[in-house]
């Protein structure tokens, strides 16, 4: 039996749904239907078309690109339920969320938790409006998996810091306006000597060099800091708190890397659809090569079990109000399956799936090759698979360190 409360809640949600539909109707340019996010984490900015700009500004003004962030800082201030409705309605209309990038995925949530009032007021609203690109200054040539070994030094000069050192694998560094950075403020303690500092990428002394990757693309950069002056108010949290804040940010990164966003984007059409296009089928529409058919089924079963696991992790987190312990496996499994899929797609397509450039290949074929190669990074970045295994063994399974 529906109670009075149910009825009220229902009418509230329906009213909100109407509001979203009206907003989309008034603001979403028809020509953008079915397009992806123009501001993703790893791709270049491209040139924003007037229609894309209009849509970004409209969504940004409402804070609906960051729907659950507090409205006082420019977020949508919506409940999870309302955010879900927003998603549904965007999907229904073929619209995308134009607000994205590392500011939304990683830095924003972390700053909301650890930043000062002034920092939140300064940095969160431009993220919500999609006006500022952030990049991540974590890894260094000698600090990859052993991240806490980082050596980039921020020297205290009373009213400011002077930063010297080198970061690497700075995703999108060549396009970024600002960088959230882990720097060393104390050489005497590996972990407690690390601080979390915000650096303007156009500050004097910052130099960015894109790195050409095996995929032929340059999504990552080396970033050099040569006597870069950084104001003291750009320190997040206390001096020496950087490792704690930095790890928290990595949790946001893992959630985003595994969950789906980036992985799902790399996935494209189903393997069986690709196979039907490239290899022989029998009279019943079955893939004639029984071994290949078996490999595809084997993959798709595990992939679907992974998708169910991602959904289950989300449901458990919501019900229990914390992070589900199976969340720890999502990054490791999702990235591995993504790579397997890319390899299988190539096996299906044969030489046609290995085109590098030029005539004789479709756009999808060419981008598939680049995605296959780029995908090799997914089990290395964001905490490599080996690091994930350490985390699962120690934190979830309680297996101890060597004595």
């Amino acid at each position: 039996m529906a109670t009075q409360l149910d009825v009220e809640q229902k009418s509230d949600t329906e009213a909100f749904r109407d509001e979203v539909r009206q907003f989309i109707g008034e603001n979403f340019p028809e020509e953008l239907k079915g397009q992806g996010n123009a501001m993703s984490a790893v791709e270049g900015p491209g040139d924003e078309t007037p229609a894309q700009k209009k849509w970004r500004e409209a969504v940004g003004a409402r804070g609906w690109g960051t729907p659950t962030w507090p409205s006082e800082y420019g977020g949508g201030g919506l409940t999870r339920k309302q955010a879900a409705i927003l998603n549904e309605e965007f999907a229904r209309a073929g619209a995308y969320n134009p607000i994205g990038g590392m500011g939304v995925m990683m830095f924003g949530p972390t700053l909301l938790e650890f930043g000062s009032e002034e920092q939140k007021k300064e940095h969160i609203p431009p993220i919500c409006r999609g006006e500022v690109r952030w990049c991540q200054g974590y890894s260094e040539p000698n600090a990859g998996s052993d991240l806490a070994n980082l050596q980039t030094m921020a020297e205290d000069k009373c009213d400011h810091y002077v930063v010297n050192g080198q970061k690497t694998w700075t995703s999108g560094g060549q396009w970024a306006d600002k960088c959230f950075c882990l720097v060393r403020t104390d050489r005497s303690d590996k972990h407690k000597g690390i601080s979390f500092l915000l650096i303007d990428m156009d500050a004097p002394g910052v130099e960015v060099r894109p790195i050409q990757m095996i995929s032929g693309l340059s999504m990552f950069c080396e970033t050099f800091f040569d006597d870069v002056k950084v104001p003291k108010e750009n320190l997040v949290g206390e001096e020496g708190q950087g490792w704690t804040i930095g790890k928290r940010l990595l949790q946001h990164e893992r959630t985003n890397l595994s969950g789906g966003g980036s992985m799902a984007r790399l996935m494209g059409a189903s393997l069986s659809d690709i196979a039907k296009k490239y290899v022989e089928t029998d009279d019943n529409g079955r893939i004639a090569d029984a071994v290949l058919r078996d490999k595809i089924a084997d993959f798709e079963i595990r992939w679907n079990a992974f998708l169910l696991t991602a959904r289950r992790a989300a449901e458990e987190s919501k019900a229990e109000g914390g992070v589900s312990e199976i969340s720890s496996v999502l990054k490791k499994v999702g990235t591995k399956l993504g790579q397997e899929r890319a390899e299988l797609a190539i096996e299906i397509m044969g030489m046609q799936g290995l085109g590098w450039e030029g005539e004789g290949f479709t756009e999808a074929e060419l981008s598939g090759v680049r995605a296959w190669l780029f995908g090799k990074a997914t089990t290395i970045y964001g905490g490599s698979t080996e690091i994930q295994n350490n985390i699962i063994a120690k934190r979830v399974l309680g297996m101890l360190d060597h004595q």
Binding site: S272, R286, A297, L308, N389, L397, L400, D401
Partner: protein
């Protein structure tokens, strides 16, 4: 673990408490030692019926609680953990055939007696050592069934067989024209070839053409639940062992080579649980059940196979001994993997269902 409602949580906690306290693996050792081909304790099954476990999927009008498949799966998972021998899985699968395909009279005749625990029932499909429901020769003429079914689970002690014949599913009560030939498998549980020679057979006529497949999907999912409990238990036991065993003056759990293997198994277990629970939820929702059930058993096969092998290897020599439980799980695992579809059978089926 799927998010449960109160009644499901209660049922699971009750099953967990009962199996832990009343039916640990030592109880299975006693049943095994007794050497009876039935290989389950009748008083244990009576207790299960008293606790309501025999009626979890049975409609209330026939004495059941109609809690649904997710609830049934929660109980079976707990039974799998301690290798509790009982005909609950077989009987629940057979009951589902009656619910899906039985007439009102057939339901009224059998379901209350199944709920009360009076009747044990089981599904008899395969006629060779490998699961293949497309190869059925058992046939009924003038209400009499003739044919032989191989490796039927819980046949000893069954009062009712649900038998796949060339033209559909039939109810065949134990008795005249039904002969059992014991088949002792590595798991030392209850299996027999069942020979039907002119046994009285009553058709389950209401289920439609795909009744057998619908019942097999339920068999696959429920079997996968038992396998999930087993895999979880082998994993937990192995983890405990690694935390205790000392070599080179180090607890084994501190070795990274072993940590990463356990992390891999933990991830696979997560996928297995999602697939199995997804199968149960699909049965309850009645949506894309064939695909979900096929996936559930395929993942259960894959992961339990791996976990049961690794369980022995990670225990080392002690895992090879009868004194340790881990070997029981290995032997039971392979029997369940072969039941209602091997991994290759299920992958083929999944591909066909997906249109490739």
């Amino acid at each position: 673990m799927a998010v449960l409602n109160d009644e499901q949580e209660m049922l699971r906690d009750m099953a967990r408490e009962w199996t832990t306290n009343e039916s640990p693996v030592t109880e299975w050792r006693k049943v095994r030692a007794a050497g009876d081909p039935q290989a389950w304790d009748s008083s244990v099954y009576a207790t299960m019926a008293e606790m309501g476990w025999t009626g979890v999927i049975i409609p209330e009008e026939h004495g059941g609680s109609d809690f649904g498949w997710l609830s049934a799966g929660l109980v079976v998972e707990q039974l799998g953990k301690t290798l509790t021998a009982s005909p609950l899985v077989a009987t629940t699968i057979a009951a589902s055939a009656i619910i899906l395909g039985g007439s009102d009279e057939q339901k009224a005749e059998w379901l209350p007696r199944i709920t009360s625990g009076e009747v044990v029932a089981t599904l008899a499909v395969d006629e060779s050592a490998r699961h293949d429901p497309s190869k059925i020769e058992a046939a009924v003429s003038d209400g009499k069934l003739s044919g032989t079914k191989k490796f039927v689970h819980e046949a000893h002690g069954a009062g009712l067989f649900v038998v796949a014949a060339t033209d559909g599913l039939y109810l065949v009560p134990a008795g005249d024209g039904v002969t059992l030939h014991n088949r002792s498998l590595a798991d030392q549980r209850n299996h027999a070839d069942v020979e039907f020679s002119g046994a009285a057979a009553h058709k389950l006529a209401s289920g439609g053409d795909d009744l057998l497949e619908q019942v097999l999907d339920r068999a696959r999912v429920l079997t996968a639940c038992e396998m999930l409990g087993m895999a979880q238990q082998v994993f937990d036991t192995t983890l405990d062992y690694l935390k205790q065993r000392v070599q080179f003056n180090q607890v084994l759990a501190t070795f990274q080579a072993l940590q990463h293997r356990m992390a891999d198994l933990f991830a696979d277990l997560a996928l297995m649980r999602s697939a199995v629970e997804g199968g149960l939820q699909a049965l309850d929702a009645g949506f894309r059940t064939s695909q979900a059930a096929t996936m559930a058993k395929a993942e259960a096969n894959r992961v339990l196979h791996l976990v049961s092998k690794e369980g022995i290897q990670l225990h080392g020599g002690i895992g090879m001994t009868d004194e340790y439980d881990v070997g029981f799980y290995l032997k039971r695992a392979r029997v369940l993997e072969a039941s209602f579809g091997s991994t290759s059978y299920l992958k083929d089926r999944y591909a066909s269902l997906s249109g490739y």
